[in-house]
Amino acid sequence: MTYEEQVQKMTEMMAKFVGHTGKKLPDDVIAKLEELREKEDSPLATVIYDTMFRNQELAVKLDRPSCQDTGVLQFWVKCGTRFPLIDKLESLLKEAVVKATFETPLRHNSVETFDEYNTGKNVGKGTPTVWWDIVPNSDKCEIYTYMAGGGCTLPGNATVLMPGEGYEGVTKFVLDRMTSYGLNACPPLLVGVGVATSVETAALLSKKALMRPIGSHNPNERAAKMEKLLEDGINSIGIGPQGMGGKYTVMGVNIENTARHPSAIGVAVNVGCWSHRRGHIIFDKDLNYEITTHSGVKL
C-alpha cells in the first residue's frame, strides 16, 4: 500500500468506527445498564428502561443512530512517535467525521462561533476535538472516540478551590452539579471528576476520566475510596433514570488526578449520558486494529 492508500484506508476505518459507535453502545455500558435495569422496580423507572433497551435494539436492526444528538466528535489520541501516519492523523480524523456524517448519517453539530452558522459538515474550526498524547518509541496509535451530546455537555464545570475547602469542597462541587444539571443530562450518568492544579488540567482529566471503562478504579486508594463514596452518595439522592426518581443515578464515578499547587485544588466535573457513545481502537503500524470497547465489529 502506498502512503496515500494507507491514509485513505485509515480514514475509511475511522469513519466506519465512528458510525458504529453512534448505533451501538460499548459492551461495558450495555452490561451496566442491564444491571441497573434489574435493580429498579418503580413503574416509571421500568417503563424508561424498557424504552431504552427497545431503542438500542431498533437502532441496530434499522441501522440508525440510537440518539439523534450524535454530538461533537472528540478524539483522544495516544500516538506513538513512530506511527507511520502521525503527520496525517489530525486531518484524516476530520475527514473521517465528514465521511461518517453523510454515511451514518450524523446530525450537523458544528456551529462556527462568532460567525454563528452551522457548517453543515459536522466539522469546523477546531472540531472534531483532538487531544494528543505523544508516546515515545512506539509505532502504535490508540484512539478514543466520543460523541459529546449537548445534554450531557451542559453540566460540565470547573473551578479552583482553596485548600481550606478540601475534598469536602470537591464533594459539594460535584453533588451540587448533579441536582442542578444532572437531571437533564440523561441519567444514569457516568461522572468524570478531575482533581488537579488548575481549571484546564482538571477539566481535561474530567473528560479523560469518562474514557475509562465502567467499573474501573483509580489506582490511588483514597481516590478510589472517593469514587465509591461519590457513586453511593449520588445514587442515594434518588434522581434515577431521566431524573424522574429511582435507586440508581450513576453508572459510575471515575476520578483522574495529578499533583497540585500547595495553594490550589483544581476540580472539574464532566458527565456522560446513559447513551455513553465511547469507542476505543488501537492501530499497529500496518493498520491492523484491535477494538476494546465493542465486540464483534469488522471495519
Partner: protein, 208 residues
C-alpha cells in the same frame, strides 16, 4: 380525544381541555395525530417577533426536538432519528407561546418552570417528557412528515409537522392543574444531597 387500548392511555389530536382534566403528573400516556417539532428560534419568532406560526398547532402537540431527517423525492422527508431536547430553554417563551398558539401538549426533555406551569393551568395544556436518547423508538412512531415550514432555520430548527401513531411513552411532568413533577422532586433531591455532602465530607478529610 382520550382512549384506552391494550392498557395504554392514548391522546389523539385534536385535544380539548376536557381531555386533559383526568391526566396527572407521573401518568404515562401516548400521542396520536399531529405533532410538530418546535424549538428555540421558532419560539422566539412567535413570541418576540410576533410572527404567525405557519403550522396550526391549536389543540395539537409540539415536540422540543431537533431531528435527523433524510430528504426523499418530491419534497417528502423521512424521520431517521428524533428525540427531545432540553425543554428548559423554551421556558422563557412558553407562557406566551401557549397563549398565542393554543397548543395542548408540549413534549420535551426534563422539567420546565413556573411560567410553563402557569400556562398549563391558565390555558389547559400539559408538558410531558419522552425518555431521552431513544431517537429510534420515537422516529418509528412517525408515520409521515406532512409539512416542513420555516426551512430557513436548518434541519434541527425547521417545523417538521408529523403524523404520529402512539408516540411515547410520554411521562406527564406538568399537568393542567399546574402541578410540576420535577419541581416537586427537586425539593426531595436537594434535601438528600445536603445529607450526602455532609456524610461524605466526614470521610474525605485527606488534608491534615
Amino acid at each position: 380525544m382520550v382512549e384506552y387500548k391494550d392498557g395504554k392511555k392514548i391522546l389523539t389530536t385534536p385535544i380539548s381541555a376536557e381531555d386533559l382534566a383526568g391526566i396527572k403528573i407521573g401518568d404515562i400516556i401516548y400521542l396520536s395525530g399531529s405533532l410538530t417539532t418546535c424549538r428555540d428560534v421558532a419560539h422566539r419568532r412567535v413570541v418576540e417577533e410576533g410572527r404567525e406560526i405557519p403550522v396550526d398547532v391549536r389543540n395539537n402537540a409540539i415536540l422540543h426536538a431537533g431531528p435527523i431527517i433524510r430528504p426523499l423525492e418530491n419534497d417528502k422527508f423521512e424521520m431517521v432519528s428524533v428525540g427531545p431536547t432540553t425543554s428548559m430553554r423554551m421556558e422563557k417563551f412558553e407562557y406566551e407561546f401557549v397563549k398565542t398558539t393554543g397548543v395542548r401538549v408540549i413534549v420535551g426533555k426534563g422539567g420546565m418552570k413556573e411560567q410553563t406551569a402557569a400556562a398549563c393551568k391558565d390555558f389547559g395544556c400539559i408538558h410531558a417528557v419522552i425518555p431521552a436518547g431513544n431517537a429510534v423508538v420515537a422516529a418509528v412512531a412517525v408515520e409521515e412528515i406532512v409539512r416542513a415550514e420555516w426551512r430557513d432555520l436548518g434541519m434541527p430548527e425547521t417545523l417538521w409537522n408529523c403524523r404520529v401513531k402512539e408516540f411515547g411513552p410520554l411521562i406527564v411532568s406538568i399537568d393542567a392543574q399546574g402541578r410540576n413533577y420535577f419541581e416537586e422532586k427537586k425539593i426531595e433531591y436537594n434535601k438528600k444531597k445536603d445529607e450526602q455532602v455532609e456524610l461524605i465530607s466526614r470521610q474525605v478529610g485527606f488534608i491534615k
